[in-house]
Subunit: 225 residues, 2 copies
């Protein structure tokens, strides 16, 4: 097994170098970048469909969609009137920094305020691969069960914010919100938690306000550099 | 990127050799082996909690639980009165055949009829790693959305049976069952599809009947070898 770990570390080192390059390019252009991670079907794209119409009134938003296959998600984002680029990983279980690099060098970065990256639906692999982002957003849906933070800790430990989605389904599920909050507090005591429903729109405005505020902070710190 | 693909193929070749060894050991002992795969939280363990009490009346069942972290699932299975072994992958996004080998050589295989392997919750990585199993079972929950077969095709293409779980939540979701069936038919026209609810128990008896029947077929073909 040791050879796999060594190979893995070499791949991770290479990825970190590409991530640092991305970070430098994005910062030079004052682009604020978020990396969204969750299981398949937790609702990342649906959440973006709710929040982008609010965000785009204040920021120029571009979305990179990561999927194993299909361009379904990029098409859903494009229908909102914002630019989106689909990356198909052709089997890989996560985006990596090189894939992101190949996209951002073709984007009009000086015109972009916020780059949203929706990672491949996976609670394990994306956590290991920095993309050059400023923040990581983890999404869990209540239908997945309250034990997932404990069972798949990495994505949640590294998150700068955690979204609990599909709260409209809570009446039909045994999901205990206090137990979930306890697990999150244990894994990551500082990340704010937003309770949202992409289906009904509940909680999306609150998350949007937080994004706008964080985006302005980023803008100010970029200007003072 | 090419170096990663070559390394991947070497790892996969090594895995195939371990899987062939497992298969030989399991067949020699007339153990019928299933590998269950799904997203995190699709309900694999909950389905096992429903079906094992039925299965164990006719078969001697042992479960191997694969998780990144925790022994929560193995404890849930043990509470049913069947032996379970937890494998923690410590970060890896799938079980591999070597991990299974290290477990099965310690099991009383001659006393086991059915070995159920619950893989790490992940719709991408487990598809590439044969474990030595006789059949693969893919689980999708209706809360994940009907587009997942198209977006994460590998697990579904290779499945010998597909379980659609959480059907008790269909009244509260926009999930279109006919669209899902169409996608499955496109990806994998021959796999039977079972509509189940681990929450209510609906459909579990039908899946149990199929398992008993397939288990008997396997037993007969093993005896005639």
């Amino acid at each position: 097994m040791s050879i796999r770990i060594e190979v893995g570390q070499e791949v991770l080192r290479g990825n970190r170098e590409w991530a640092a390059r991305n970070r430098s390019i994005l910062h030079r252009n004052n682009v604020w970048t978020l990396n969204m991670m969750s299981s398949p079907g937790a609702g990342k794209t649906s959440i973006l469909e709710r929040v982008i119409p609010l965000l785009k009134e204040q920021m120029n938003v571009v979305v990179i969609e990561g999927d194993v296959m299909t361009t379904l998600d990029a098409e859903r984002i494009r229908a909102l009137g914002v630019q989106s680029v689909q990356i198909n990983t052709q089997g890989a279980c996560h985006l990596d920094a090189r894939m992101i690099h190949d996209v951002i060098v073709q984007l009009p970065l000086q015109e972009i305020d916020l780059l949203l990256i929706e990672n491949v639906g996976n609670l394990v692999c994306p956590a290991d691969f920095a993309l050059g982002e400023d923040m990581r957003i983890a999404v869990l849906s209540v239908t997945e069960g309250e034990d997932k933070v404990e069972k798949y800790p990495y994505v949640f430990q590294q998150a700068d914010a955690i979204l609990l989605n599909k709260i409209d389904l809570l009446p039909y599920l045994p999901f205990r919100v206090p137990k979930f909050l306890e697990e999150v507090h244990h894994a990551n005591p500082y990340a704010p938690i937003f309770h949202v429903s992409a289906a009904t729109g509940e909680g999306i405005a609150v998350w949007n306000d937080w994004l706008i505020q964080k985006g302005k902070q980023h803008q100010r710190s970029a200007e003072s550099d």
